[in-house]
């Protein structure tokens, strides 16, 4: 847990800025893809227990569609793009042009699955490449994997590396949604970036801030 105790408010601001830049680019990509205005919230950087981490996405039992990818390269980590079923359905409808589509059909509908995976691909790709430009670090995304399942089952995958070092996670959370739709907090799409424990000082150093500064 040492690495978390050493974080100052400057470090948290840097992480917030990373969320801002990354999700900003992703929101632009999403807006172009759907030809719609996309609204982005100010990112939250939170230090949470694993259980609280599940609560951030609606609770361990809650069903979501999530795209997960591992970040490899100089600052490894995990990234999730988490969509509640309602929002995933809206996006899929727009992408495949089928107004009849319902979320239950996702498993049998190959085009819809592929569209959702591609959406996650494009968004996480633009998040990562902007992060890479900003820090000057070489970061490579793995091929994204899509899963529709319980939050607990999905998010715990991103905690494996972390859980060997700590009982807490530092999560950079940014919410996106369509601008003109009145939407409740629980149906927003979320980007969750979880750097591996050793990656924090690499990220800070790349931006000229010392670990213990």
């Amino acid at each position: 847990m040492g690495f978390i105790r050493n974080l100052s408010s400057i470090h948290l601001d840097i992480l917030k800025e990373i969320g801002n830049i990354g999700a900003g680019h992703a929101a632009t990509a999403l807006s172009k893809l759907l030809n719609k205005k996309i609204d982005m919230q100010v990112p939250h950087v939170k230090i949470v227990t694993f259980d609280e981490m599940m609560e951030l996405s609606g609770g361990a039992d809650h069903v979501v569609a999530a795209v997960f990818l591992r970040i490899e390269g100089e600052a490894p980590g995990s990234m999730f793009f988490v969509l509640p079923p309602e929002q995933a359905t809206v996006f899929i409808k727009q992408m495949i042009g089928d107004e009849e589509f319902t979320f239950d059909q996702l498993a049998e509908n190959e085009i819809a699955t592929s569209a959702l995976q591609e959406l996650g691909n494009i968004l996480s790709g633009s998040y990562l490449s902007s992060l890479s430009d900003f820090t000057g670090l070489a970061l490579y995304p793995s091929v994204p994997a899509l899963s529709v399942d319980m939050v607990g089952a999905i998010i715990s995958y991103g905690l494996i590396e972390l859980s060997q070092v700590s009982d807490y996670a530092i999560v950079i959370d940014t919410a996106l949604n369509e601008d003109d739709v009145e939407i409740s907090e629980s149906v927003r799409g979320h980007f969750l970036l979880l750097p591996d424990p050793d990656s924090f000082h690499i990220i800070f150093e790349s931006l000229g801030v010392r670990d213990n500064g």
Partner: protein
């Protein structure tokens, strides 16, 4: 009839004990493994939600014993014995250990589900606790709930609904 049934929740990398008529539950098991250990005759049981196979993986100063298969199972048995369970009457039911995402380059860490299951089984075998039911592997998340009176483990998945084990 008006007995109030309480459901005791167990978080991730956490453990707890229950006695009838209450039930015990853990939600959203993916690669994690839920291990229920119960006394065959007395209506008491315990549940541990395990994240990692081996406490030697821990690089932290303070260790949460419930996180690891080797330390978690031992600690749960110890707690059960403390409240009156008898070691020779203990049985286990396990669920979880799924592989939620399929990657082409499956590193050891991505195979964590099967490794957790192997480690739990090894630990239970060492403590001579028989596994009465297991629903492990696959690629679905599971929410499990155990009733210490009926000894039934209810397992819910997104696609298959609730099943009894």
């Amino acid at each position: 009839m008006d007995e109030k049934v309480e459901i005791i929740k167990v978080g991730i990398a956490d453990m707890n004990i229950v006695s009838a008529p209450n039930r015990i539950r853990t939600s959203g098991l993916g690669s994690c493994v839920g291990v229920v250990i119960y006394d065959q005759v007395k209506d008491i049981a315990g549940l541990v939600h395990i994240m990692l196979p081996d406490s030697s993986l821990s690089k932290a100063g303070t260790m949460n014993v419930a996180k690891f298969a080797d330390t978690g199972v031992k600690e749960l048995v110890k707690k059960l014995v403390q409240i009156g369970a008898r070691p020779s009457f203990l049985k286990a039911k396990i669920a979880g250990g799924a592989q939620m995402f399929q990657f082409s380059n499956t590193s050891d860490m991505m195979r964590i589900g099967p490794r957790n299951v192997e480690a739990v089984k090894r630990e239970l075998a060492e403590l001579k606790i028989a596994i009465m039911a297991e629903d492990v592997g696959g690629n679905s998340g599971r929410t499990i709930e155990f009733c210490p009176k009926s000894k039934i483990l209810h397992i819910r998945t997104v696609n298959k609904g609730t099943q009894e084990w």
